[in-house]
Amino acid sequence: MKFTSLGQGGGYNLPACHMLKLSGFHILLDCPLDLSALTIFSPISCTSLYDEEEEMVDLISLEPYYKTVEGVQLWNVSLIDVVLISSPMGMLGLPFLTRTKGFSAKIYATEATTRLSEFMMKDLVAMHMEFKQRYGPHKNSFFEFFNWEKLESLPPSLKDILLGKDSTQLGSWMPLYSAGDVKECLQKVESVVYAQETCYNGSLIIKAFSSGLEIGACNWSLKSPKRNISYISRSIFTSGVAMDFDLHALIGTDVLIYSDFSNSENGSNQELEGDDDDDDLLLDCENERCEEMEKLKFICLCCMDSVKSGGSVLIPSGRLSIVLQLLELLALHLDSSDLKVPIFIISSVAEELLAYTCIIPEWLCKDRQDKMYSGKPVFDYEELIKEKKIHVFPTLDSRELLMMWQEPCIVICPHWSLRLGPAVHLLKRWHSDPNSLLVLEEGVDTDLALLPFKPLSMKVLECSFTSGIKLEKVPQLLKMLQPKQILVPDYAKPFLEPLSNSLPCLFYTESEPLCLPKSKNLCELHISSNVASKLKNKEMRMSRLKGQLYVEHGKHYLVEGKKAKGLEIGPLVHWGKVDLESLLVGLEKIGVKGSNECGSNVVNVVDPGKGLIELKETSVVISVGDESLALLISNLVHSLLNGI
């Protein structure tokens, strides 16, 4: 088994990306896109807006390129056998792979992940098209634009993003895929439900289990004949929308690849102890859930303040589960404050996306499912849309939107990078209004993101939501999962190394392959009981196998053969010693005349044919011209030995 981390990711929007080699198969874990890197580009027409302050805005004025994971680009795609997608965000870079010549891997993702990332990719393509249309025919292409001189003259903040820490990542930038690429990519995905068993190549059993991060997001369990592996991507114990983290299915594996260290910067100096039992872990999760609710409520209160003072609110968020909860809460707050402020959702896919979230109760948390059972809609916004409290439009220039536009209002729209989509136009409109509010998620460099909209008088609320398991809970979780070996990223070393006597950790570094020695586990052979009983009946310690061996769903089976082989194969392995005396007795019994010169270990055969038998330390040599006599004697010799 070999493991190479290709990118350790960052936050909700950029999942980690790894390559795993297991029983000969190359498995790519996630294929994300670093959309935070879009911030180096200048949004449409910003330059014209700030003509007089040109030197302030030194962003790149080009049609945006998209930053893929460098390690994936360096890989020969035809070598990849399997791609596992853990979350909708983990699929955004996949069309780049699937359109590459030679790509033939099998892609697995949950149904919900596939649909949600379809929406995200379609929206991305639509926003990019809009950019292109407004920008006009592009003057310069990305790579023509950059020469060394130009690269050197870039401010360090941009250069870091463009070239990466080690200045090698220019090659990972790609022009965006087309709608056709997306369609083709999705056709290649094999959708599964949680806990569905799929088998790759007859030997690798793959199962997805909910991770709680997002609707459809999952962790993976991989079973090869000799090793069980679980892969934990970003997980949340209980979210208000997605199904809870299902950790029971991941207990007791040989290797646990742990790739979820979300908030490593906070709490790294915390004192740790792992003696708490499971109940506490889950109780804490309840608290965590409450904290999240408090955060959402706080955002709502800030929004209320803004709209009360006549300002509008812009929420450019891509986090579906947060947006869905926020929608419900905002409507509640508006109601209780008796405000008649419209909520607009603007995105090319919003209508279909919202409708979709209403018909997938199987993927939602218990509370939402219970709502369904009691006959209520799983999400309130269905009603809110009917009551005209929430309005959904595909674009900012939709005619109906222009007709009913009113300010203050609350707008939820893409894109959180603040470079694409309706967010750009609305920011231009509101950036100088001190009463307006921008709600930003963590994940982008805020200074850089807001650079083109300066001077900024608008209020900015930065918030961070849980996007993984808290560091201080990790040891407890790892202990609960009881893996024989744990792979964790190197930056967790200072934190987990002190616990090494109770947690068998290996630390991996980005792009450095980590090899695990061959598993000592033995394969299991499932012998059908009728075959087994026949074999065991012989009152022997050993018996030769008979039957039909086959591999199905990663398991080896031995069942009764279809037709019995005509002839019995005699023993094929012999051990023990032949002593001269019993050989001579035996020869006589089968009617072969032979004599032994005293003291030698040779028997001369005289009748019915000529020949000799020589007894050596580890062998018996039979030298007889006649074939049938030779076989007769060899059978005798065998009978004097132990054999099987």
């Binding site: 007859g202 018909i359 012998i527 039957g547 094929l572 062998s619 018996v620 030995l641």
Partner: protein, 686 residues
């Protein structure tokens, strides 16, 4: 070990489906239904047969409910809340969502009829809280040894067939299913599974149905004609399933024909049900599913809820009323009002249980129906019987049985005479053992069981090399790929210290028993006239040269076939076979012969084991044409059919006298095996 199948309900009848399966110590209850035709103790399965002590938690490992019809779930609240079962219960998401509506509807009818209620509203809610919802294809580990999985069954929303597996022994219980898609549901779908037992419904054991579209048109025509003449249409249905299917049909027809006649749903109940259908639209057919984004197909435009005051209002209308079969409740009330009028129409479902008004209307053409001894209703309205049904027909059952090819089949949920015919057909046409036990009867079958043994790496390596990687195109739709291998016989089964079984490779045996391996070898020294080695022109007295020439000769003939002949230490070796030039005039291994000075002697030895059939001496890929050149056919007789003219022969056995060469094809590459060298030598020296 055996599988025991105890039929508590739906044995040779339709109603109170309930089958208890015991495999390897686990006991699974499939369905827990009630019988609509009875109101005494016969309405429920006889649970006392499961456990006399009444400790059902100990007696039953889990309950699996296939769908929300009362004949499959009606007794569940009774079993959990009254009999006290608290173990796990599984059903699909839609069944869990919709079952309470069905149960509540039934409870109300019971109360309305003045019967003693078997369970309360609270009982239903408490019962449903104990249910674990499952998704299709989701693997559910009930406990360490018992695994279950649901498959799409069509029939009604959320209906599922269930697969259960205990220690390698698999069974499928179908519940009710439909092998052809209908207006809103897809056709049943299941994987090819290794099954010991299949328990299938057989409602339409002998019926073969044609296209249902013609029947749907008939229905629409009848309804349209009635409302066009100002009549009222009563469609008695259960709250769920048929109601939605017909409603999609009517709603769509109303749109197309631009009809304005109101369609009503009785009580809030069915309107409520539509909400569930909307959320669970993913469980319908692809066509209906795709409507979710634009207009959810269950957002019926022309459907309104019915008010009792409209009962005798003038003008045409269509009314869906519960319960189906007109066994009581509101549909009976409406029936009383509308049946006497000629212009009205009553549509009846395809199946009505004996004793219900529906059943009476179906048998013959009654002009009067007795409700009880005091009430008699004149029936002058038209009756239309719906002939499309959400059950599979006989062809569908046969198709499923054939597809799954289980070792045994049990028929339930049907009528005895028809089941007998189907049973005979399954036995004769498919050669599969089949029976149809009556209620309370138990049948037993042998079960598949596996003993688990460790297998040494050497054994796995030897039996599975070359480490096959299946071609990618083959794996997509193949759930299982069998690879047969006769090298199985190189494996030895042992029991280490009387504990776990272990399979090792034969080469590991001697080490394991701590003995010394003893080889038995043959030696053979023979002469050959050098002129027989035709290709050797230069006569070289140098031995290495001679061996080299021999090698050349052999390589000439076999080399390009991949035969590996290695020249080493003045001798040629192929596996255990060794040949070298014998310079010893007194060689003890020399065979008798007419030797003269022209003969050069070759001494050879080889392991006796190589003389045995099926022992690998060497392998090489071979084509038929080359084979014939190698072993001229006048000397060798080829067995086994196959394509003699073709270049590639899969399996060929060549026999000459007692000598034998077996050439086998392995996987995709053509490898061949020969049994022993002397045959080879003979062929060559001729």
């Amino acid at each position: 070990m055996a599988i025991e199948c105890l039929v508590l309900g739906a044995g040779q009848e339709v109603g109170k489906s309930c089958v208890i399966i015991s495999i390897h110590g686990k006991r699974i209850m499939f369905d827990c239904g009630m019988h609509m035709g009875y109101s005494d103790h016969r309405r429920y399965p006889d649970f006392s047969l499961i456990s006399q002590s009444g400790d059902f938690n100990a007696a039953v490992s889990c309950i699996i409910i296939t769908h929300f019809h009362l004949d499959h779930i009606g007794a569940l609240p009774y079993f959990t809340e009254v009999c006290g079962y608290t173990g796990p219960i599984y059903m699909t998401y839609p069944t869990k969502a919709l079952a309470p509506l069905m149960l509540e509807d039934y409870r109300k009818v019971m109360v309305g009829r003045g019967e003693e209620q078997q369970f309360t509203h609270e009982n239903i809610l408490d019962c449903m809280k104990k249910v674990t919802a499952v998704d299709l294809k989701q693997n559910v580990q009930v406990d360490k040894d018992l695994q279950i999985r649901a498959y799409y069954a069509g029939h009604v929303l959320g209906a599922a067939m269930f697969y259960a597996c205990v220690e390698g022994s698999g069974i499928v219980y179908t519940g009710d299913y439909n092998m052809t898609p209908d207006r809103h549901l897809g056709a049943a779908q299941i994987d090819r599974l290794q099954l010991d037992l299949l328990i299938t419904e057989s409602t339409y054991a002998t019926t073969i149905r044609d296209s249902k579209y013609a029947r749907e048109r008939e229905f629409l025509k009848a309804v349209h004609k009635c409302v066009a003449n100002g009549g009222k249409v009563l469609i008695p249905t259960f709250a769920l399933g048929r109601a939605q299917e017909l409603c999609i049909l009517l709603d769509d027809y109303w749109e197309r024909m631009n009809l304005k006649v109101p369609i009503y749903f009785s009580a809030g109940l069915t309107i409520q049900a539509n909400l569930y259908y909307k959320v669970l639209i993913n469980w319908t057919s692809q066509k209906v599913k795709d409507t979710y984004a634009t207009r959810n197909a269950f957002d019926f435009k022309n459907v309104h809820s019915f008010d009792r005051s409209l009962l005798d209002a003038p003008g045409p209308c269509v009314l869906f009323a519960t319960p189906g079969m007109i066994s009581g409740g509101f549909s009976l009330e409406v029936f009383k009002h509308w049946a006497p009028c000629e212009s009205n129409l009553i549509t009846l479902p395809g199946y009505c249980v004996a004793g219900t008004v529906g059943h009476k209307l179906m048998s013959g053409k009654p002009t009067k129906v007795d409700l009880d001894k005091d009430t008699q209703i004149d029936v002058r309205c038209q009756i239309h019987q719906l002939s499309f049904s959400p059950h599979t027909d006989a062809k569908g059952i046969m198709d499923l049985v054939k597809f799954l090819s289980p070792k045994h089949v049990v028929l339930v949920h049907g009528e005895k005479p028809k089941m007998d015919l189907l049973k005979a057909k399954i036995k004769s046409e498919l050669g599969i053992d089949c029976c149809d036990p009556a209620n309370t009867e138990t049948v037993s079958f042998s079960s598949t069981r596996f003993e688990i043994s460790d297998a040494s790496n050497a054994f796995i390596r030897s039996s599975l090399t070359p480490n096959f990687k299946f071609p990618k195109d083959e794996i997509t739709d193949m759930p299982s790929l069998h690879v047969h291998d006769e090298r199985v016989s190189e494996g030895i089964l042992t029991r280490v210290d009387g504990k776990k079984l272990k399979v090792i490779h034969q080469d590991e045996v001697v080490t394991m028993v701590g003995g010394v391996k003893t080889e038995v070898e043959f030696c053979y020294c023979f002469g050959l006239k050098l002129c027989n080695l035709k290709s050797i022109r230069v006569f070289d007295s140098d031995d290495d040269g001679l061996i080299g020439a021999l090698n050349l000769k052999l390589s000439d003939e076999f080399g390009d076939l991949g035969l590996r002949v290695c020249l080493e230490k003045g001798r040629l070796e192929v596996n255990s076979f060794r040949v070298w030039i014998c310079k010893n005039d007194e060689c003890p291994h020399r065979i008798d012969g007419d030797w003269c000075s022209e003969h050069v002697f070759f001494c050879c030895n080889w392991s006796v084991l190589d003389n045995k059939k099926e022992t690998t001496v060497f392998c090489w890929p071979i084509k038929y044409r080359e084979l014939v050149t190698l072993f001229p056919s006048h000397l060798w007789k080829f067995q086994d059919g196959g394509d003699v003219n073709g270049d590639n022969r899969a399996v060929t056995q060549a026999t000459a006298g007692s000598r034998r060469i077996t050439i086998r094809r392995r996987w995709k590459a053509d490898y061949a095996r020969s049994s022993s060298w002397p045959c080879f030598g003979t062929a060559w020296s001729v």
